[in-house]
């Protein structure tokens, strides 16, 4: 086990807990910066997609993992971000303005949902966001004058200050930069009062209020930030797919995002990366697996939902803490070897906790 000698309280506030910790992340960043030199275009694009998912995942993690508000409709924010950016960009706005603007507008719409969310708890909120996503999807499909409707909307090639970002390498770096900035901001937020107020609302609304946390403000802020980040991811995603159409943003995407946070590990930013990795790699594995499966199953369009649904269930039943939770256990196993106790993480099994009052 590693014991860190802490000589002042600042050490607990720092992002990196000790020097080895910092150097590992330095190595990771360096590897990501150098990756395009060795990887071919296919993997570069996959990694770009992973970064975009991670940004959207960070958005949903703030909301679901840290504030305890479940959204089944995050695809709507992604779609809004993508369409708003694509439309502004096609009307001649520069990229560095239109992407933040689309994120801001999406965040503003998030505020509206956040205000509404105060009146709904738990499941009701999840359903309301689902309804919101359904409506957004239909609006996009039935407003061809603005969005191109079902015939789609071509996204212009990305360029900034006269430089084209269209090559996969340039776009890789763009998304990596965005991801690092987003994570920096989110980590900072989570170690300051705002992040703590999110957690307070998640764990107990009643005592959060008793501690002076304004529920309306906090929930609205959580929704706004979450929607804004997801909108940003949507805007980046628009260039990644190059062509927007309503079917690119269905409920399936919402579920994928939720899966990202659940499988990665609720309430941890590491989980976002693990989850993003998971949902980028699984379709590839399925594609490879198709060659090995009997044609009847391999040809069926249902293979992907089947695997995603199945994995989601398995994680929720057997490892609710997600990949990150598993990683923490494995790490503890090795650091305490041979004294690891299996029951360390066992929580008391609870009886049906009713939210009803009779």
């Amino acid at each position: 086990m590693r014991f860190v000698l802490k000589t002042n309280y600042g050490r607990d506030i720092d992002i990196f807990k000790h020097r080895a910790h910092a150097s590992w992340y330095f190595v990771l960043i360096a590897a990501l910066l150098l990756a395009p030199l060795v990887l071919d275009v296919f993997y570069e694009k996959q990694l770009t997609e992973l970064f975009i998912w991670a940004i959207a995942g960070a958005g949903l993690m703030l909301l679901t993992g840290y504030s305890g508000l479940v959204s089944l409709g995050h695809v709507a924010f992604m779609a809004l971000g993508a369409y708003i950016h694509a439309i502004l960009y096609s009307r001649g706005w520069p990229l560095f303005l239109s992407i933040p603007t689309s994120a801001l507008i999406t965040g503003g719409i998030g505020v509206l949902i956040g205000v509404a969310s105060l009146r709904m708890t738990g499941i009701y909120l999840a359903i309301a966001t689902l309804a919101f996503a359904m409506i957004v999807e239909k609006v996009i499909a039935h407003w061809p004058a603005l969005t191109g409707g079902h015939s789609g909307f071509r996204v212009d090639d990305p360029a900034m200050f006269g430089y084209s970002l269209d090559s996969s390498t340039a776009y890789y770096y763009t998304c990596l930069t965005a991801l690092v900035l987003v994570f920096f901001g989110v980590i900072n937020l989570l170690r300051s009062p705002t992040g703590r107020s999110f957690i307070a609302v998640r764990d107990s609304e009643i005592s959060a209020q008793a501690m002076g946390v304004n529920l309306l403000q906090t929930k609205t802020l959580a929704f706004a930030l979450s929607a804004g980040l997801t909108g940003l991811a949507g805007a980046l995603y628009a260039h990644r797919i190059g062509f927007l159409f309503p079917d690119a943003f269905t409920i399936m995407t919402s579920i994928m995002l939720l899966m990202l946070v659940v499988v990665g590990g609720l309430g941890s930013l590491h989980g976002v990366i693990f989850g993003a990795f998971f949902i980028t790699i699984v379709p590839q594995i399925i594609a490879i697996a198709r060659d090995w499966l009997p044609t009847g199953i391999a040809q069926s369009g249902g293979l992907e939902p089947l695997v995603f649904g199945g994995v989601l269930i398995l994680f929720l039943v057997f490892e609710p803490l997600g990949i990150y939770g598993r990683w923490v256990k494995i790490r503890l196993f090795f650091s305490q070897f041979p004294l690891y106790r299996k029951k360390t993480f066992l929580r008391q099994k609870s009886y049906l906790k009713t939210e009803r009052v009779h």
Binding site: T64, L72, G122, A126, P305, L306, L316, V317
Partner: protein, 290 residues
């Protein structure tokens, strides 16, 4: 006038289907406080099993109906036993996600077994039409309405007069107290799942003649969910009323403003209801106590 009547009838029969799926939601919610998002998929499975019995195996329609209800109920029982029982006491969000995952799995499996091509359930009354003046009504629509009414009466009698029905009510009011009184709560919960899967199968059988059956008809489960909330979650009559409200509004919106608005009207109603009166038309839940 005639179109209004026609739309009303269509809306009511569609609403009955939503209401029946919503009944399943509410039953499970009352018994376990779980929200079964796969209820629509259970309906779809029910419809497809009925198709299998009547079309592929050429069984008598009425025999097929009974067997379908039993088979789907059994599937519900299996799901509870193998999966949902593990989730008791987990946060509601986790349970919701599990049932969403379940919905995906069921839909995918149905696609693999039955394919994605639309199928048809032929019934003895499939093509029959009754004319009342200038209004032509498919018998299928009337059967949906009649079936729903019959089922509601049956459920009412069941909860009012049978031992198991009363035991179910008791354990939904207070699980722990029911357990202390010697009610086998686990078995009751399992039975609830079987019952609501059975109801979903009935919804599927009634709904099937009105439409082409594909694995995607399970998506009307989302609208049924809206129905359950509009009616007031946790209230059985509320589920049917909510279903009817949504079915009727949907038809009229579609007729007047086109398909786009017709399809989304359920969601608008849901959002409106959640904002204006979160407890639904028939309120039955209250805030947590400290």
């Amino acid at each position: 006038m005639d179109t209004i009547l026609q739309l009303l009838l269509k809306g009511i029969s569609q609403g009955c289907v939503y209401g029946l799926i919503a009944l399943g939601f509410v039953l499970i919610y009352k018994a376990t406080e779980m929200i079964n998002f796969a209820q629509g998929e259970l309906m779809m499975i029910g419809a497809l099993i009925a198709v299998t019995f009547t079309e592929y195996l050429q069984w008598n329609y009425f025999v097929a109906v009974v067997l379908t209800i039993l088979a789907t109920g059994f599937i519900g029982l299996l799901l509870e036993r193998s999966l949902l029982r593990r989730m008791i006491g987990e946060p509601p969000f986790a349970v919701l996600m599990v049932t969403i995952g379940l919905g995906f799995v069921l839909r995918a499996l149905a696609g693999m077994i039955w394919g994605h091509d639309p199928q048809e359930l032929r019934t003895p009354y499939s093509d029959a039409v009754i004319s009342m003046g200038d209004v032509f009504v498919g018998v299928s629509n009337l059967v949906v309405i009649g079936g729903t009414i019959a089922l509601c009466i049956a459920l009412f009698l069941f909860f009012r007069y049978t031992r198991i029905g009363i035991a179910m009510q008791a354990s939904s009011q207070n699980q722990l107290a029911a357990y202390y009184l010697g009610i086998p709560v686990k078995r009751i919960v399992a039975f609830t799942w079987a019952l609501s899967a059975g109801i979903a199968a009935i919804a599927g059988i009634l709904f099937a003649p009105l439409t082409a059956i594909t694995p995607n008809i399970g998506f009307s489960g989302i609208k049924a969910f809206a129905a359950a909330i509009v009616g007031g979650f946790g209230s059985l009559p509320g589920a049917i009323i909510g279903g009817l409200a949504i079915g009727i509004v949907e038809q009229f919106m579609q007729y007047n403003f086109g398909k786009g608005l017709g399809d989304t009207s359920a969601y608008f109603m849901l959002l409106l209801m959640l904002l204006v009166r979160p407890s639904g038309l028939i309120a039955s839940t209250q805030k947590k106590k400290v």
